[in-house]
Structure formats: C-alpha cells, structure tokens
Symmetry: D2
Subunit: 140 residues, 4 copies
C-alpha cells in the first residue's frame, strides 16, 4: 500500500514571528496523518480508543526540517507504518508543500508508539489492527 496522503492548509495560528510554521506543529500534522492512515485501513482511531481500549502514546518523535512551511501553504502529509510488533508501532511521514509546479519536501518525521490501555498499562495491539497494518507493509 502506498503511504496515506492527507492535505491541509497552514493556519495562521501555526505560524510564529519568524513568519514560518512553528516547529512543534509538524508533529500535530503527523498525528493527522496517523489518523487518516487508520481511516484508510477501515478503522477509526477513535474507536480503537473507545471500543478496544487501545491507545497509542508516543514514546519517541523525530523530525528533520528541509524547508519552512508558510501561512496558507497547501501541505500534504504522507504516513506509513515502517514497523509493527504486538506492543509497538513505528510511523514514518513526509510533509510536502503542494504548488502548481509540483511538490516540495518540507520535512521527514518518525514517531514510535506503544499500545496501552486507558490506565496507561501496556497491552497488545488487537489482532485486527496488527493484521491490517502488516498488510500495508506487504509483510503478510
């Protein structure tokens, strides 16, 4: 499966006084990419939390910023899973600026997540998610 692609427009609130998007906000965009990844698999992350009591807190985050995003830019977030085990999921992201002339890479990021219940105790990723995610990696 190719990476999930989600588009958004940069909000004024996301800029800072340097006139570019504040660096922490790229991780908010990654979260949007993750959620859409699950939606394309046919699952709501909301349901994963509410019905399966499975939450995905972040244990590691990393971003390399290639070019600044600016106010009102149209931006695409590509998200895919690069590794999954029973209690760990690793996502990789590309953040791209969409212009009439094509795309420009703005940032590359990774996040690592563990699967926990509501009380933040480790638990296994439910089988249905594990299988669906593995299928996106061509590993089943």
């Amino acid at each position: 499966m190719p990476p999930t692609r989600t588009t958004l427009r940069v909000r004024y609130a996301e800029t800072d006084q340097m006139g570019i998007v504040y660096y922490a906000n790229y991780f908010v965009w990654c979260e949007i990419g993750r959620v859409e990844f699950f939606r394309q698999l046919g699952y709501d992350y909301k349901q994963m939390e509410m019905e399966d009591d499975c939450h995905l807190p972040v244990v590691e985050s990393h971003c390399r910023y290639r070019a600044p995003a600016r106010y009102d830019d149209e931006v695409a977030i590509e998200a895919r899973v690069t590794a999954v085990r029973s209690t760990v999921i690793k996502f990789a992201y590309k953040i791209l600026r969409l212009t009439p002339d094509g795309e420009q890479l703005l940032a590359e990021a990774e996040t690592v997540h563990v699967t926990v219940n509501k009380s933040m105790q480790k638990r296994n990723l439910p089988e249905k998610y594990l299988l669906a995610i593995k299928a996106t990696m061509g590993s089943i």
Copy 2:
C-alpha cells in the same frame, strides 16, 4: 480579596507571523489565571476534577484586546470571580504587560463556566468551593 495575580513570559510558540501573540492564546492565559485563583483559595483545580468529580467547562468567553503582547514580554494575569451560583461561575481577567516603567493593560476578558461531572452532566458546585469563592467576593 484582591484578584489573583500570576506572571508568565510570552513563548515564541505563542506568537504568529504578525509578530504578536495569537489572539486565541489569551484564553490559555486566562485558564492559568483561573487555576491560580483556586490555588490561592487553598484548592487544586486538579483535585476538584479528580476527587470531587467537578469540572468547569466554558460556556462563554469574551476578550477585548487593548495592546498586542509580544514575544518574551513579562505578562501578569489577574483573575477574580464576579459571580457564582450553584452551577455557574463567572471569571473576569486583566492581562497586563510588566515593564520596568510600570504596567500596561493588554486585554480584559471574561469566561463563564458551568459545573458538570465527568459525563458532562450538570451538577452543583461543592459547598466548600462555593463558600470559599463567595468569600473572595466579600459577599458572605
């Protein structure tokens, strides 16, 4: 009781590309003022939520911006309660810039809150908070 006063320094993240603090962030500062108001009364808002199952969602917010706050400004938030009933609390705030030469009014705000339980059902403000708040208003 005079208004509770809390000070903070403007974060880079709170500015936008106009070079001033993004307007929604003043309401984040109001929240900080509210929490310190309760702390000065001898109560943790955290405990009000966890031990008394009493939460204070906002049903109305209002702010008049007098002068822009800027990055690294030292800012004071004054908070006081202007009205309280069994299920409603109304706060008023002043946001001030602190400079070596004195204070400058940056904004005035109000928020109105209802008291609810964890399931967002209306409930009464526990008596101890009601009494303590009324005492700050000189109305007991």
Copy 3:
C-alpha cells in the same frame, strides 16, 4: 451571499483532558473561516498582508459554547461579515457538528478586527476589499 462554509476534522491535539475540544481552539477555527471567506471573495488573506500591507488584528473576540466538540468530529465553520467600515470589520461565525443525521450547533462566535499596516498603525481597508465585503452583505 450565504456564509462561507469550511469543514475540518477535530485534531487530537485540539482536545484536552476533559475529552472535549479546548475552548480557545474555537477561535483558531474562526480564523480558518475568515480566511476562507476572503478566498471565496477571490482574495487571499496572505496577499492582503504581503501585497497591500493590510493586516487584521483582533480587537475583540466572543464565543458562546452550546455543545462540546469532540475528537474526530467533522465540523463546519460558517463565517460572514456583519459590519464593515474603513478601518473595522466584524465577523460572525457558527460552528456546527456534521453528522449523518444532520447538523448540531456547537458554538456561535464574533470577532472584531481593525485594519493596520505592518507596523501596527491604523490604515484604511483597501477599496477593493471594502466593496467586495459590502457586496456579501447585500448593502451595495
């Protein structure tokens, strides 16, 4: 002209520990509505800032919250101008939850803006914007 309508999905980052959208974030959504209002008029707010040196800082904001927005809700922001003069614009907004069964009003808001240049000095709203905005109000 009917109000401009923009839709978005509630981000995880926009929620707080009460499990609902943090109250200040509704004003971020209002900003998105304003920008789309100008885009539907045929103008980029970005160009208004860069080419016409006309900026619209907020001098007053107000929101009445009717029902909480929640994570992953599909939300519509309706924006329209209710008053415009040479140096002041007033917007009104409705925030709605979109569900398969229809729409639910989540919040109503207003913002008042003054027109300034890059140095935050008052200036007139350029004629082209003034006329276009007035046309949306049926007042020309």
Copy 4:
C-alpha cells in the same frame, strides 16, 4: 556551566484526551529552555533576532518520552548546548517532573538549529554568542 533550569506548571491546554500532555508540547517547553539558556548567558534571544538579525530555526528535533507529564505537574526543563559551530547550534534537554519526593525524568530531547538572517539566508552566529556558548561547554 551546569544546564540552565527553568520550571513551569503544566497547563490544561497542554493536555489531550488521553489525560497526558500532548507530545508536540514538549518541544514548546524545549524552546522555553533555550530562551532561558541565552538569558543566563546574559543575552536575550529577542535581541539576537532584532538587533543582530540572527534567527535560529530548527532543522532537526528529537524527543524520547520516558513518562507522561500530567496537568498541573511542576516541570523543570534543563537545557545545554552540546555542539556549536559558526552556523549550527545543537541543544540537549531533560524534562523532569518535580515532586516533594524528588525528580522524575519525563523526557530527553535534542534540537539542531542553523543561524539565518530575517530572509532565512544562512549567516554566521555573531562572535559574542559563539564565545559565550563555547564557554558553557568548557571548550575555551
């Protein structure tokens, strides 16, 4: 020089519906630590931007989350520079929870910055900052 230490209290706005601090907000805290690092050196980051036209956009960010920060926690941010060259500065951070019983490590982070002018063109870090920073590393 030991790391610069700044303390803050977790804001309600910084939590998410998992009941913990949203992961992107740790990078906002890192920024606060950086600014205080410069202040302890005797410099305002604000002046570096305004008087020296030297800005420090982030080109890489990384965080390992050890334990979740929660609403109203008292948190300390330790910041120090681990590498500096004429156009690059690398910071390392520790985020700690302060409790009556001691400190708990919540997260470790790094950010890498390049020095640019207002137009985002690379420029050298002014000598005074370079020397002052090197002095904190014991490398002069």
